[in-house]
Assembly symmetry: C2
Homo-oligomer: 223 residues x 2
């Protein structure tokens, strides 16, 4: 609606969303998610509760904004169909994570990463947020399967694609939890690669047959 006609309005809109979300995550972290009402968030952000609901359809969305899906799907379709499924998916997940955590410049990187960590911690510790986040992963799974572009006719291949995608996303989620527990000190793509290796074997994630089982050393620079 707005981002089509006027880029100025879109920018203003994105800014208010950012402000609201920042106050929300701060309050949720300080007082707890359930103890904080949407009205509290609105007050802190200096807007009315209606405005909050207009920008974020549910209270959970104040924490769970994910455009992650598009990123991953694009990398899936760009990957070679000759590779095994888990490698195609795993590679896309690692690359997307590298893009998310390494995208900032200079000091912004730290702030962005801290904000991402704060949201992640909320997601993990709050049941309602965790549930909706896992369901978002389920939607991402469907997007991945679609992006893999298998024949819809071969239902057996479709099933294998579903299994591969769900298992890879499960590994991703476990990696995210681990990363949050480490306060983001480790490199997220490395943790994801480690999780994928633990699930599917060390040979599946790195085609260039390295022998390092526990600690991948190199940068997560692939393709």
């Amino acid at each position: 609606m707005s981002d089509q006609h006027s880029p100025l309005r879109a920018k203003r809109r994105a800014e208010t969303q950012r402000v609201i979300q920042a106050h929300a995550v701060r309050l949720f972290t300080e007082r707890g998610y359930d103890a904080t009402t949407v009205t509290d968030v609105a007050e802190a952000a200096g807007v009315s509760p209606m405005t909050v609901y207009r920008h974020f359809p549910t209270k959970e969305d104040l924490v769970l904004v994910d455009q992650h899906a598009r990123l991953v799907a694009e990398r899936i379709v760009a990957s070679s169909a000759a590779q095994p499924l888990v490698r195609r998916i795993g590679g896309a997940l690692i690359d997307s994570a590298a893009m998310l955590t390494g995208g900032g410049h200079g000091d912004n990187l730290t702030a962005d990463r801290r904000f991402l960590l704060a949201r992640l911690r909320l997601m993990i510790s709050t049941p309602a947020l965790r549930a909706k986040h896992l369901d978002n992963h389920y939607a991402l799974q469907q997007a991945i399967v679609d992006a893999l572009g298998n024949d819809a006719a071969d239902s057996d291949a479709a099933f294998r694609a579903q299994v591969a995608a769900s298992a890879c996303l499960a590994a991703l989620h476990t990696a995210l939890v681990r990363w949050a527990e480490d306060d983001g000190r480790t490199e997220l793509p490395d943790v994801i690669a480690k999780a994928l290796a633990a699930a599917f074997g060390d040979d599946i994630v790195e085609p260039t047959g390295g022998v390092n089982t526990s600690e991948p050393i190199g940068r997560a620079e692939r393709r």
Copy 2:
């Protein structure tokens, strides 16, 4: 509280729970989950809304009663620690599924299976239910990791256990979806075995090295 002192009261209580849940699943299936209020369920079951909330803490629990966790955890601790992680977990999941779907006798089997399928379909198609169900799986994952009994000291082994458990449960969920899509015509343990094989390789699920890749024929009678 009640199930300790008087078995008669426990039986009455279980019966009312069963009645309420049956009406709930029926109404949810007929009118849709969101379009059915808890008051509607209470009316249909002939009780007050308060009584519904006393037996089922949330509306979602009217569909999602799972004691599945205990079953799986028991089989995990009973499994041999010498086997690889995914085999221990996968075997427990398959056995528990066999117990859930094959437990009935005679005609009861059909009714129970139909009820299970109805709940499963609701779980898959309703976002709120799907989210909470996936979160239940997350709790089950923790139970599995605990049951595996790894050293809490070795954080790397703990991480591998988390990854293995989450990936196995992801495969289980995909299998459940597939089973529901087939209207329960296939054998659930076989579908789960197939999903695990698709995720981790055909050799991991059946130690007796069969060569049948696609369709496991034998009963899921293991150990």
